[in-house]
């Protein structure tokens, strides 16, 4: 059971996340999960595209959407993607403290993204009376963006759990895959957001 002891830099392989069979399995498993998520979000995007003009007399996307806020949110999330890469960089260099630090930053960026999203939703609801129930467009909008937001929330919860869990233990071959799969998941959230801001906000602004 040697693999649970914290490893010193000497014995730690360069890719600790894939050094054990469990690690390899987790790595593949998460990638496959993301493959499935691709179709999952495609179904939501498809639904949104089909319903984006079904406003039932309510406000349209052109009237409501503001680009500034979305731009800030985008930059936040993109940056959090970079910080998580940076954390993985430190993992490869076996610098546990720095890894935790940068993951912390990632989490904070994610939280601020969520905060802005909630603010945005509140803004549409109070200022435009635009809700989940107003029209098919409303349902599709909140569901698509909300599903993404839900993924962010879940990601943050996951991050917090592994960070606290391993704070005292340091990096080892048992938890390295957990960190790594988290970072993959987090990137994927960013991938989805790229399409959200493109399809929902930018295209919504165009027509």
């Amino acid at each position: 059971m040697s693999h649970i002891h914290p490893l010193n830099p000497e014995t730690m392989p360069n890719e600790p996340e894939k050094a054990t069979l469990e690690g390899k399995n987790k790595f593949l498993g998460l990638w496959f999960f993301l493959g499935g998520e691709t179709v999952l979000f495609a179904s939501l995007f498809g639904t949104y595209i089909a319903l984006r003009n079904s406003t039932a007399g309510g406000p349209t996307s052109q009237e409501m959407f503001g680009l500034e806020l979305v731009f800030i949110m985008t930059i936040l999330l993109l940056t959090s993607s970079l910080t998580s890469v940076y954390a993985m960089y430190h993992m490869k260099n076996q610098d546990f403290k720095k890894m935790q630090l940068w993951l912390g930053v990632t989490g904070l960026l994610g939280l601020s993204f969520l905060g802005l999203e909630i603010y945005e939703f509140a803004h549409y609801i109070t200022d435009y009376g635009f809700t989940f129930r107003s029209s098919a467009f409303g349902s599709a909008f909140y569901t698509l963006v909300g599903f993404h937001g839900g993924h962010v929330t879940f990601g943050i919860a996951w991050l917090i759990t592994i960070m606290i869990r391993n704070a005292k233990r340091g990096l080892n071959l048992y938890n390295a895959p957990k960190y790594y799969t988290f970072s993959l998941y987090w990137h994927f959230i960013d991938v989805i957001w790229v399409f959200v801001f493109t399809v929902v906000y930018l295209m919504g602004k165009v027509a």
Partner: protein, 106 residues
């Protein structure tokens, strides 16, 4: 463990990791640029409506390719299966989008 050889390997790995990180920084920079371009196109309305949507989609696709290939290491060895699955997913996604986006209106 007092093996100098392993130290060398370490050092070499560190160097490689660093280079890798620099690549990541560059791709991050590019992603930000792509994002800005996309937002600017829409905010200023300089482009003809006909072209905007395809251009936006292409920009998004490039950006996503960066995420996958650099940030998520899909370019590296040992990622054949992940790549297959993601492409499978993308294929499924395209069909779904075609189904819902195009032929639910007739």
């Amino acid at each position: 463990m007092e093996n100098t050889n392993s130290d060398k390997i370490r050092a070499y790995q560190k160097q490689k990791n660093k280079e890798e990180m620099q690549k990541h920084l560059i791709s991050f920079g590019l992603m930000i640029v792509l994002t800005i371009i996309a937002f600017v196109i829409v905010a200023t309305g300089i482009m003809d409506k006909m072209f905007v949507i395809p251009v936006l989609v292409i920009l998004a696709a490039i950006q996503v390719a960066f995420q996958f290939y650099y940030f998520m290491h899909m370019k590296d060895k040992g990622h054949e299966m992940p790549a297959t699955m993601i492409y499978g997913g993308v294929w499924g996604a395209l069909l779904t989008l075609a189904g819902l986006g195009v032929i639910s209106w007739w």
